[in-house]
Symmetry: C2
Subunit: 323 residues, 2 copies
């Protein structure tokens, strides 16, 4: 199952996303280059539609549901960016979307999901959310689109690497955060097709270090009690993403909460950008002058910017205590 997302699938996804997804800009910062000793290129997916890269995979997968003719309704479980991405994708494609949101879920993200016209189902627990989803599928009401373990979602996320290669020649290394591994799977499959010697690193909070364990042990270590503000990374790997990442990743960098805060603060103060904690996880190794990066041309995927101002202030204010 690992290799059922081909490079051709990724280029087809890019064709489907053309004119729909933004070609997000790449930004540089002299101060970032100085701190890292590297030449760093930020791929700004927080400026993607809906404020995160998730729109790519969600739109691609939903468009294939539409063209297959098998359903006019899609569904997913997501308390965050995938839910928003799928909600907008469905709206653009003329599909209905049911987004099942397990608590806790921020009011801001719920509002964003409904603002795109999706139907929101708030559930007390993750297992209740899964029961609702199963019921919907069994009733033939809706086609599920998984946030990261769906091959079409992975292909959609892989289009980021196609763009990055066009925008930045001769990259040595690419960094991205690991949650469920859908983004990194797409990046790996596209990146190693284009340049087999590209080094791709996952970045993971030390307080949710399940992926590094899963990769070491070669089975999915469940994410029990995440201790990190990077709420986008509170998920385990999937059975589709684990083998792809085991084959392709160079290594995983673990990151402390203080480093996440420092990275968010850096881009806020110096680059005037708003990024969410999960994005900062991939920037932290750059800011701590990780030895493997020195002297290299390094792409960093900034995955999203959906952090409400109160949460940002609470995270970054002097004396803020990481969870």
């Amino acid at each position: 199952m690992a290799n059922d997302v081909s490079f051709e699938a990724i280029t087809r996804a890019a064709a489907i996303l053309r004119g729909v997804a933004h070609i997000t800009p790449v930004m540089k910062s002299r101060q970032l280059d100085e701190k890292s000793g590297a030449s760093v290129f930020l791929k700004c997916e927080h400026l993607q539609r809906t404020g995160s890269f998730k729109f790519r995979g969600a739109y691609h997968a939903a468009s294939l549901v539409l063209s297959s003719g098998r359903s006019r309704t899609v569904t997913t479980i997501s308390s965050g960016n995938h839910g928003q991405g799928l909600a907008l994708a469905a709206k653009l494609l003329g599909l209905s979307a049911h987004v099942i949101v397990p608590k806790p879920a921020s009011a801001l993200k719920q509002a964003a999901i409904t603002s795109y016209g999706a139907r929101l189902h708030l559930e007390e627990t993750r297992s209740l959310a899964e029961a609702t989803m199963r019921q919907m599928i069994e009733d033939g009401q809706a086609t599920p689109i998984h946030a990261f373990n769906d091959p079409h979602v992975i292909a959609g996320q892989g289009t980021i690497m196609l763009e990055l290669f066009k925008q930045v020649p001769a990259l040595d290394i690419v960094l991205a955060p690991i949650g469920g591994g859908g983004l990194l799977s797409g990046l790996c499959l596209a990146g190693h097709h284009l340049n087999p010697s590209l080094q791709i690193y996952g970045c993971e909070p030390r307080g949710a270090a399940d992926a590094i364990e899963s990769l070491r042990l070669n089975y999915i270590v469940p994410m029990a009690a995440p201790q990190t503000m990077a709420d986008g990374l509170w998920t385990s790997l999937g059975n589709r993403t684990l083998p792809i990442l085991r084959q392709h990743l160079t290594e995983v960098f673990l990151v402390d909460e203080e480093e996440i805060v420092a990275a968010m603060r850096f881009v806020y103060e110096r680059m005037k950008l708003v990024i969410e904690p999960s994005s900062a996880v991939a920037l932290a190794p750059v800011l701590r002058t990780e030895p493997a990066l020195i002297g290299k041309r390094v792409g960093v995927v900034i995955t999203g910017g959906n952090v409400d101002l109160e949460a940002l202030w609470k995270s970054l204010s002097p004396g803020a205590v990481p969870p």
Copy 2:
């Protein structure tokens, strides 16, 4: 005196700034286009070095002080972005800079000025600041570089329009905030040389509406007690900028404090960008669907992003009361 900044001076400034100032990106937002009924292009000078457009004029003027051989030290009165711009310019050129800062002045901005190696002189009042400046000039210690009434500063700011014309074809209208008028003077001189039918609008907070009055009465109405959070615009016009603006500006849009807050919130939430209140002043007419802009191609100069997080939170949090 009005016309002593030629288009050639602006193109020379562009040559001096090449490779030193950033060519700042232009950003678009579908939601902004929908709200405004226009096609809106944000010229992102908040991503300029030091976080504001002021670096352009300051560097250009300081480089001419250096090449004239008449001084190795520059000085200015500024509690804000011009002070930071001049501090970095001096550092890059190997000049000394004395930045005289009248209170009140934010700790963040003071720290930024000294971080670039400039000498900071904190003064209790504006008139004490001016006395310190006069003394420095009389002692032959330093060459003053005025924040907006200096022709080389105006020429430096005009380079923004040269870039914008290259980046965005067939603009109909350009909007920018009015403080002392240096930015708009440069934009007018460059813009009307390139396209005499370009419409250029100044944008001013209703709580600091001295420029609109000065333009109407044709003398400099002093800015007595500004009632606006847009602290970059707490200045009167200068004797050099008033006649340029009278000749070139189409009109001035006045903006309420609530509109400034709404514009900051919009770019924070939807575009993931941090802009300071003065920048939001030029965006507010777009967001209120100003009739003159409908159906047009509109450039908006986003002037700076130097707002500390606490101030941003205080401005945008629910229940925040404008001054």
